[in-house]
Assembly symmetry: C2
Homo-oligomer: 766 residues x 2
């Protein structure tokens, strides 16, 4: 009981039993959205342990000086409380005869059906349906269909609830509350620090046996709440339909530079009128069509095979579903949060997850959206400059966690508790997890090469590469050995703080400067105007000289005698302990309940892939021997306490021909949110892991890689699969790849230009 996979062939993930203690799971993994708006799938009725959440991309607010800016939890529009002859409809009391909750990821429709008998013996047959429109970015539509075993009085209490908080932090000032035409209710709230006004409007339509009920709402206006009440007599066998149409607008929306709340109140009210006129069925059809257009027809993936192949296919579709929900493709001033828009976790902040785990999917399937994600980095350069300056460096030092464009670094300084001292634990990432800067540069380069978008490079890309390279040149520290080192950092493996010469960090810094040098020549030779512009900004000749010097003398860790690349200068000499206990634990972070971080720093243990990510990104820099030996060495010391870890391991296992292992690791990656463990998604889905799932399939099994500027396709299907089909866009040409055990077929569907692809070792022109 719990998650049910029996309908996944129909694109449906289901929950087949109701447990009021594990509500967070489906709230997050079944969440709805469209990149502008994300709504956790909390139920219509309230429960004690629910976590209602509605987030609008980019609407960051800082509660006070002790907290970091975060995405605020907007006033709830979803709740509809039902009272049947005075008894609250709630599945944690009474008796449930049948229950199922389903998310259809193809259409974006959430539905829930139950037959429930209250303690008074009255039975209700209830169906709840809901969408967040992918077509009308501000619109939510709900339908509730009820019938009863007895004649009953149904009371409906439904509206807009602004008492929502982010775990107690209230980000909004209470604002105007209105009702119009005895029917439309409206609530205005405004973020306390960033001053963003949110306007929400909702309206209800009731039908009894298809007859419209024209009763006025009883309206309740309270502190932070506007509610409508309806009381309806329903006879046994009659069908009562309740529809709720609601929407949300904010002054951070594009086009609202000059905020005029009154105007937005009118827009919101008008939109609500249009939506109710359009009707629920038409809104659903329109939104489902948009899902086809934007995702399923645009970037189809299919997997055929035995056993679990159908769930594997669903898993990658599920990843695509969530990658559409989380991405603000409508606005380049925003980026993707580590939990998407599905929960408070990580506060809506953007990490390296975007470039390293998610960007490949968007680049290869939706380059316009990918471009916006990198434009965001360009627009937030002022914060990166400020951070560099604050730390005594030059150039662009990107924040480890990023929020609004001018926020700069927003990583919280403390979290959790030290199990030894009883004091809060300092989070060092915001200070010294510096590899993010080369990750951003890497993302820019990836985007540019795969799309061939020279306009982006000229406007933003070259500058980003130069600016980040300048940072690294200033960041390097000359050692007594006359080599340049990067000391006191956190690498991707966050169980190791204050390390020197983290392999990932050093190699990527080196790559970043090398790339800048390469572009220096290209610009100087071929784009003198761009060169001139950037030269004015950066003094490129001088910068070039510094890069040259730094690249020559930077310390790049070399593999030891066993071909293992040292993760940092101390890792290999730390003590080994038995990690079996933690490897087996279903929850993550178990080791931190036995050791504090200082102690963990003395153990050969990794939270997540570190060197292995480096092998993945700079595939051609390392020999197969080094990769294999390092893989073997680190994997057994890696607890995969980060959701980013499995997919990296899986893709590399595919590369190394470890098919079985690659598949097993893919299964683990794909089940992070989708699996049966009910506790892991409470704070929101794991955004980057969805990118990882796509990478396992298309990069790992599908064998796609951009290497040194060239496209390579070299599939290695797992034994369980017979056929894998997918599309990728390479330099504007959409390629359809069909890989089977016996061969591969690649077609250029666009055919407006020829492209060169290395397919299974052979260079082809399509």
């Amino acid at each position: 009981m719990g998650m049910n996979y029996s309908k996944i062939a129909n694109w449906i993930i289901a929950e087949d039993s109701f447990n009021p203690e594990t509500l967070g799971k489906c709230e997050a993994i079944m969440s709805l959205g469209n990149g502008y708006l994300g709504v956790r799938s909390a139920t219509e009725e309230h429960y004690l342990n629910e976590t209602r959440g509605m987030f609008v991309a980019g609407t960051f607010n800082k509660f006070d000086k002790n907290e970091v800016t975060e995405l605020p939890n907007a006033a709830d529009l979803i709740a509809v409380d039902l009272f049947i002859d005075g008894e609250r409809f709630a599945l944690d009391s009474g008796k449930i005869e049948s229950y199922t909750r389903e998310l259809n990821i193809k259409t974006g429709v959430l539905s829930r059906s139950t037959v429930w008998t209250g303690s008074s013996g009255k039975k209700v047959n209830a169906k709840f349906e809901r969408i967040v429109s992918l077509k009308r970015l501000h619109t939510i539509a709900q339908r509730i269909t009820l019938s009863f075993s007895n004649d009953v009085t149904v009371k409906i209490h439904s509206g807009i609830d602004g008492t929502m908080t982010n775990t107690g932090s209230q980000h909004f000032s209470d604002g105007d509350k209105r009702f119009y035409d005895k029917k439309y209710i409206q609530y205005v709230q405004e973020t306390t620090q960033s001053g963003i006004a949110f306007v929400e409007t909702a309206v209800h339509e009731l039908r009894l046996d298809d007859n419209l009920l024209e009763m006025p709402a009883e309206v309740f206006i309270e502190r932070r709440k506007v509610y409508a009440g309806y009381t309806i007599e329903v006879k046994s066998g009659q069908i009562l339909v309740i529809e709720k149409y609601s929407n949300i607008y904010t002054t951070r929306d594009k086009g609202y530079k000059e905020k005029d709340i009154h105007e937005m109140q009118e827009i919101s009210l008008d939109a609500c009128k249009t939506d109710i006129q359009t009707g629920y069925d038409a809104l659903v059809a329109e939104s489902a069509a948009q899902w086809g257009k934007e995702v399923w027809d645009k970037a189809p993936i299919s997997i055929e095979g035995v056993k679990d192949a159908v769930i594997d296919e669903f898993a990658v579709h599920f990843a695509q579903y969530h990658m559409r929900l989380m991405v603000p493709s409508h606005d380049n001033r925003m980026n993707i949060g580590a939990k998407g828009l599905s929960g408070e976790g990580y506060k809506g902040h953007t990490f390296w997850d975007t470039e390293i785990f998610l960007l490949p999917y968007y680049i290869f399937t939706d380059p316009h959206t990918a471009r916006k994600l990198e434009e965001y980095r360009y627009l937030s350069l002022p914060g990166a400059h400020a951070k560099a300056k604050h730390n005594g460096y030059k150039g662009a030092m990107f924040p480890w966690e990023a929020a609004w464009l001018d926020d700069g670094e927003v990583t919280p300084e403390y979290c959790d508790v030290d199990i030894l001292t009883g004091k809060p634990v300092k989070v060092w990432s915001g200070f010294i997890e510096q590899h993010i800067t080369s990750d951003v540069a890497f993302g820019v380069w990836q985007y540019a090469v795969i799309t061939g978008d020279e306009d982006f490079m000229e406007q933003y890309g070259y500058e980003l590469i130069m600016d980040t390279a300048i940072f690294w040149a200033s960041r390097l520290e000359e050692g007594k050995d006359s080599k340049y080192h990067i000391n006191d950092v956190v690498g991707p493996d966050e169980y190791r703080e204050h390390v020197n010469d983290n392999a990932f960090t050093n190699y990527m810094a080196h790559w970043n400067m090398k790339k800048a040098m390469e572009y220096y020549h290209i610009l100087k030779d071929k784009k003198p105007e761009i060169f001139a512009r950037l030269d004015k900004k950066f003094k490129l000749d001088e910068a070039y000289k510094t890069w040259e010097d730094r690249c020559r003398k930077i310390f790049l860790p070399v593999p030891n005698n066993e071909n293992v690349l040292p993760q940092d200068d101390r890792y290999l000499s730390c003590k080994d302990i038995d990690l079996e206990k933690y490897k087996k634990q279903e929850h993550v972070g178990g080791i931190t309940r036995d050791y504090n971080l200082e102690q963990i720093n003395q153990i050969q243990v990794s939270k997540q892939a570190d060197c292995l990510v480096l092998f993945f990104l700079l595939e051609n820099e390392f020999s197969q021997e080094v990769k294999k030996a390092s893989w073997a060495y680190y994997e057994k010391r890696t607890l995969h306490d980060s959701s980013l870890s499995f997919s990296t391991h899986s893709v590399l296992a595919s590369d190394m021909g470890k098919k079985k292992l690659a598949y097993n690791l893919f299964k683990k990656a794909s089940m992070i949110d989708l699996g049966t463990f009910m506790g892991s998604s409470n704070a929101g889905i794991h955004a980057a892991s969805f990118g990882g799932v796509w990478e396992c399939v298309v990069y790992g099994f599908g064998g796609v890689r951009m290497l040194d500027g060239k496209l390579r396709i070299r599939p290695t299907l797992p034994d369980e699969w017979n056929k894998l089909s997918y599309t990728i866009i390479w330099k504007g040409q959409k390629l359809a790849v069909k890989a089977t055990k016996n061969g591969i077929d690649v077609q250029n569907l666009t055919k407006t230009a020829e492209v060169e692809v290395e397919i299974n070792g052979e260079v082809c022109v399509l």
Copy 2:
């Protein structure tokens, strides 16, 4: 089922069934406290519709500019979540075999016993007990006693929860979280605007069959939360006792002028260590003894009679219980909130309720506390001056709603919704409900006369009377009739806004100026130093001349031909409608759902007593005929939509010899919170109505009155009572009054001085 009065002879009010939809009632009426601290009696386990609340007197905070300052809801210390073999202990699921919740008002102990079987069939016998110490103002102690039908694993999750809000408004910044000795947990939070730090510490002690369990807590530190977790194997028949000792300190506490959070963290931790060492039983005994000392032995009241006499006695004890909970007798910088410390309602603000409804109880039973309440008014004079100045007046214009000393007027500007326009309704009280200023003066005078506390008068009282009289002189408006009017006010009856010459307001303003003139002579003649000090401030001779002129020419409404005193210049000419519907409604304010306030203003309808309060305060100013005719006229037009209304009517009915009516109205007054209606106390108890209950008994039936500076006792017992005994303190002498149907006995228990009393028309010296 619901409230149960079977144990009231033992000072116990009980609830004998559990209803998760009406939790607010017992949370409020069974709340615990000590004047420093008030805690709503939410259950240990959580429910959806609970309203947890813990308030520390005087710790006001303003969420933002759109809201008014209010008493913030501090981090919860009460919750203890229990999981029995993984199932949450919660009475809204599973099966309840027996249930009772009891508040013993004599000892201040709240207890709850239940036998409950979870859905897994495991039966638990649970008893929950709790006190807020009256002896140690910062201390809360809880004990949970559990036994089970099966061998079970019990998980305890208990700590400090700072996600509490005031209906969504978060008043605190998240602060330091600690644990000490693997056992004590501590949380610091700080109000966002007023900067008051709260430190809370909690610790648990567990015993299994009387053996102390020495296990370390598993500690969870999250956003705004610090929790301890324990897992215990309990065999069938074993008794598991869980004790939780917790406390709260704030930087607003007296003696913390220079706030040092670190020092307070130590004090709080040390106090927690002392409390756990003292132990639950000793803390209960000590606190119960303090209840005797401070209340039951100090101000005993007993009622003997037939039928309901036992509940009548309990009702007045219940009033005394709550009047101790609500009064900050430890600190003169604070006053009483309209809901005491038992809920968010009225935001902890102080109204005229203090002087007109509550003060008499404290003056006659606990003059030290009464003095502090009036010192508070003196200390908040700067705000009253500012308000006068802001409105173009002179002197002291007291705020309709008052909070911290320098807050000035804190009445919210909007509330509720206009049923016609759909827009928020403006609250006019803060602007034009001005009688509060003479109410304060009246309180000062009452206190001074009844206690004979000349020191208070010299330090504060004379000045308050002069300052308020100066306000009134400047407030009066000269009309075309050459009379002085007070136009555009709200009188005590808040259903009538923007009225002219409200009788209560005009007569009390007149009284206030007259009193100032009287004191002018006394000071000039007998206290030249005080006179000189005040003269310097007020230019008394000039002020006197103005008062004289105003008093001569002020318009004082006179009774019409039917002896009815017009409540204001328009009341008697407004239209009469059938009010039966609203008079019958169990909830208040029903008329506002049919008419908006503008419409109500055109109807002869009163929310509450208005002229009648005037008759009560200035008893000797009006003839019996006028009182009777007015009583009859207004009572049938009064909806008693204010809890202040019944007691005034009851006392006056007693005065007029309407014994039956007086008793019926007393019953209504006494059942406002104590009665069976489950919906009325959610936002907190009705503080003033408790004063009203005491007034019904001691003023109404007991016949006590201070009239023109003299004590009068003239009991008129209701037919249901045989004997009424009470004590009052008159000019420092404690008098014990025993009234029966046949006579009266009054003894001076103090006997350090002689006092003159008019008893049943005869002047006696005791």
